[in-house]
């Protein structure tokens, strides 16, 4: 139980760090590369991570409680 809890906290913190890193990357891309495609790709990647790990979209098609 404790291990599961610690894993859950660890996972969300890792995802947060990845999202923070991607935000920094998109800022740098806009400053040095100015690529719209790359910026939109990063945005979709960030949105995918949030929808999957923070919003738990997979719970919609699983017989799962909270």
């Amino acid at each position: 139980m404790e291990e599961k809890k610690s894993q859950a906290y660890q996972l969300i913190f890792t995802i947060f760090l990845v999202l923070a890193f991607l935000t920094l990357v998109e800022y740098l891309v806009s400053q040095y590369l100015d690529s719209m495609i790359l910026l939109l790709l990063i945005a979709f990647l960030k949105a995918g991570l949030i929808v999957n790990y923070f919003m738990h979209v997979y719970r919609l098609w699983r017989e799962e409680s909270h």
């Binding site: 947060f16 923070a20 800022y27 719209m36 990063i42 790990y53 923070f54 979209v57 919609l60």
Partner: protein
């Protein structure tokens, strides 16, 4: 057929062979609630996509000169608030009541900070500017209309999210949620992350994509 008779027939449809009405279990209700909330989120996608289409139609490959530091700061604040929201959900799911309440409170404060950043500073309500660029006004043609339209609609969602967080916090303090039953927390978290996802697209579209026009 009268309305009462129709209602009776519908009720009969849900009854089993012994005539007992089917009472949905918590899990069944939870699944229906989740589906409903996600359908609501999807319906809102049309609104935000329409705003994004308007932005590209009117601005093309240009954008107004906005404060980059402020844009990055507000984006970071909303992202951190999303982390604390999911932390609150994990906490209640594992019985960490104090961590749940503290995380919710931090989420709320960060949400208010985001609003202060966008509405207070970027909209110029405080009359304070950073750097040497002029503040955008709603009357500044297509730039002003699109920027205030997009950030305004998003800010409205942030405000409603803050109300939800406050309601969940008050319910949480009263012991309204348990490890097994906390749909209110999950719903509030989904909505708050949704507001964050919208900003994930609005940030590059408003602040980063296109050539700044002075």
């Amino acid at each position: 057929m009268s309305a009462a008779a129709t209602h009776h027939d519908q009720a009969h449809d849900h009854a089993d062979e012994h005539g007992h009405a089917h009472v949905p279990t918590y899990l069944e209700t939870l699944r229906a609630n989740r589906l409903g909330l996600w359908l609501f989120c999807i319906s809102e996608v049309f609104l935000f996509v329409a705003l994004i289409v308007v932005r590209f139609a009117l601005w093309g490959n240009t954008r107004p000169e906005l404060d980059q530091a402020l844009g990055l700061a507000t984006t970071s604040v909303l992202l951190i608030s999303s982390y604390f929201m999911v932390r609150a959900e994990v906490a209640i799911a594992h019985g960490d009541r104090d961590k749940f309440l503290n995380s919710l409170l931090v989420t709320f404060v960060l949400g208010v900070l985001f609003l202060v950043g966008v509405v207070g500073f970027e909209w110029g309500l405080f009359g304070i500017t950073f750097g040497d660029h002029e503040l955008l006004k709603p009357t500044d043609g297509a730039f002003g209309a699109v920027f205030f339209g997009m950030t305004g609609i998003h800010a409205l969602h942030v405000v409603s999210g803050l109300f939800l967080i406050l309601m969940v916090y008050i319910n949480g303090r009263r012991g309204g949620y348990s490890t097994e039953r906390h749909w209110g927390v999950e719903a509030c978290a989904i909505y708050w992350h949704y507001v964050d996802v919208v900003w994930v697209f609005f940030y590059p579209i408003l602040y980063l994509i296109g050539t700044p026009v002075h």
